[in-house]
């Protein structure tokens, strides 16, 4: 094992599904302890990139190199964009989060202790025995995050974890992630269409646009000229203060 070896590395990879190319010539190396935001317009291929990293999609060409310990199935935490549960299904917050431990081979006692611990991290501790359907939209989003955190991941990949949350809830959730990032060296890959979030929090950014991925440090990628070209002058102007602060 090598700490300097990237958690994920793609070189010239072609990504997509059902033989349809979504992203081509993808070069990306995500290092341990980095905080990545994958940004881009709707439908640009952000989720395709994330699903490839998680292993839900295989590259159409090229490959993904996974770190031998930091990017294994047991070391990854994954927060999907949404969870389309059958509304007639009975489940509690405890069960919902506990099922995130599938595949870890934990004993009953260890598994039972992980759930309240993960829920406490996202301030859902008191709701542990509540029926899942009684949670608000924001609480369900936090339950999704708790389900991933219960695995005590070395690397967390989240698909738009802040969508549908009010600004306060977004900041609370990011505070949790930041804390784990700093204290535990958690590697983070967040998909978001919120450029502001990326500009404020990420150490690295992958900007996905028209089938290409522009990846690098925040200041390398979030440049005014690039944003103006991709999103127009109005958007670039709006983000100028954030970009200057981050440079």
């Amino acid at each position: 094992m090598s700490a300097s070896q990237p958690v994920f590395a793609l070189a010239g990879a072609c990504l997509g599904h059902a033989r349809r190319t979504v992203l081509d010539a993808v070069d990306l190396a995500i290092g341990q302890g980095e905080f990545w935001c994958v940004v881009g317009p709707n439908g640009s291929g952000k989720t395709t990139l994330l699903h490839t990293l998680v292993g839900l999609l295989r590259p159409l060409r090229g490959g993904v190199r996974h770190h031998p310990t930091l990017a294994t199935r047991t070391a990854l935490g994954f927060v999907p964009q949404r969870c389309d549960l059958n509304p007639a299904l009975p489940t509690t917050v405890r069960e919902f989060v506990g099922l995130g431990l599938v595949g870890l081979g934990l004993g009953r006692v260890e598994a039972a202790s992980r759930v309240p611990e993960a829920l406490a991290r996202v301030d859902l501790g008191p709701q542990i025995d509540t029926e899942y359907w009684r949670l608000s939209g924001g609480q369900r989003q936090r339950a999704l995050l708790a389900r991933a955190l219960a695995r005590r991941p070395a690397t967390l990949l989240a698909d738009e974890p802040t969508s549908g949350l009010d600004p306060r809830a977004v900041e609370d959730l990011l505070a949790v992630l930041h804390h784990m990032h700093r204290q535990q060296g958690l590697t983070l890959v967040l998909v978001t269409h919120d450029l502001g979030l990326a500009a404020r929090h990420a150490s690295h950014v992958a900007l996905v646009h028209e089938g290409r991925v522009h990846a690098g440090t925040r200041s390398e990628v979030l440049r005014r000229d690039r944003l103006e070209r991709l999103y127009g002058a109005a958007v670039a102007d709006a983000f100028a203060p954030l970009l200057e602060g981050s440079a």
Binding site: L56, R73, P80, C83, L89, P90, T91, T92, G100, G103
Partner: protein, 284 residues
């Protein structure tokens, strides 16, 4: 008096009742992933496709008179046809990642196509209509000791699988994307579950009829979904509901001289709203 009456009836119907109860336990557990995925109607389509298999076997048998008499008797051929068609139908409707709405469409198509073809294929067959009516309207009493033994093996195997793989099955039913992300072989597990359901329905439809097979697959799981607080608990509670409907159902049917399968399904259906009422009264 009641005990003596029951003992006499057991001598006559014991194997059939036993087969019916074991089929109920087996299908009661197998139905949980279906109901959890919101795909209960798949059971009706699969059962109807099993009937189509019986119709096609009858047609083929009519053109191959006596050719296989020494290898297979008619009952075995019909059972194998029902199992083969039910399994194929379950695989076609229960796997694939095309989404719930698309699967509903395939299920509805399969049900309607099978229902119409079954009748059309045997309409002019000298025995076909009678045999298909027999399959559709059969009510448990046709099952024998071999059926009871096979149902027992299936019930024990299903219970064991549910115990060993309960968390994986629950996660796949609730969130297949997450399940795949944590390394659960979702496609293989879905295919195995579908094949198992197809096998069960194909067997059960021959032993106990279409209505009973579909009823035992769906109603205990529906009742469990209303009574339980967790998906994992449904795997335990559904077979108990299956027995709660079919045990008294057969005895009531015997006492009132009504078809046992139909009485059991009526009781199972009554349990569903009752199970819901129990849940709403429970403190949270």
């Amino acid at each position: 008096m009641i005990a003596q009456d029951f003992a006499t009836a057991w001598q006559l119907f014991g194997p059939a009742w036993l087969a019916g109860w074991l089929v109920a336990v087996y299908l009661g557990i197998a139905g949980v992933p279906l109901v959890a995925r919101g795909h209960a109607f798949l059971g009706a389509a699969v059962a109807q496709t099993a009937a189509l298999g019986v119709a096609i076997a009858l047609l083929l048998g009519a053109t191959m008179e006596h050719a296989h008499d020494e290898l297979f008797d008619g009952e075995t051929v019909l059972t194998l046809a029902a199992i083969a068609f039910a399994t194929l139908a379950a695989l076609a409707t229960g796997t694939g990642g095309s989404g719930r709405a698309a699967r509903e469409g395939v299920t509805a198509w399969l049900y309607l196509a099978s229902a119409s073809l079954t009748v059309l294929l045997v309409a002019n067959h000298p025995l076909g209509t009678e045999e298909v009516k027999h399959v559709l309207g059969l009510s448990v009493l046709g099952a024998g000791p071999v059926d009871a033994a096979v149902a027992g093996v299936l019930a024990v195997a299903t219970l064991s699988i549910a115990l060993l793989r309960r968390d994986q099955l629950a996660l796949v039913a609730m969130d297949p994307v997450m399940a795949a992300a944590v390394g659960v072989p979702v496609r293989r597990l879905s295919a195995a579950t579908s094949a198992w359901i197809g096998l069960g329905i194909g067997f059960a439809i021959h032993a106990s009829g279409l209505l009973y097979a579909f009823g035992c697959l769906v109603l205990p799981a529906l009742a469990a979904a209303r009574a339980c607080r967790t998906v994992r608990a449904m795997f335990w509670v559904a077979p108990l509901f299956a027995l709660a409907g079919t045990l008294p159902g057969f005895l009531l049917a015997h006492a009132t001289d009504l078809p046992p399968g139909h009485v059991a399904v009526a009781l199972l259906a009554a349990l569903v709203p009752l199970a819901g009422a129990r849940r709403w009264r429970r403190p949270r």
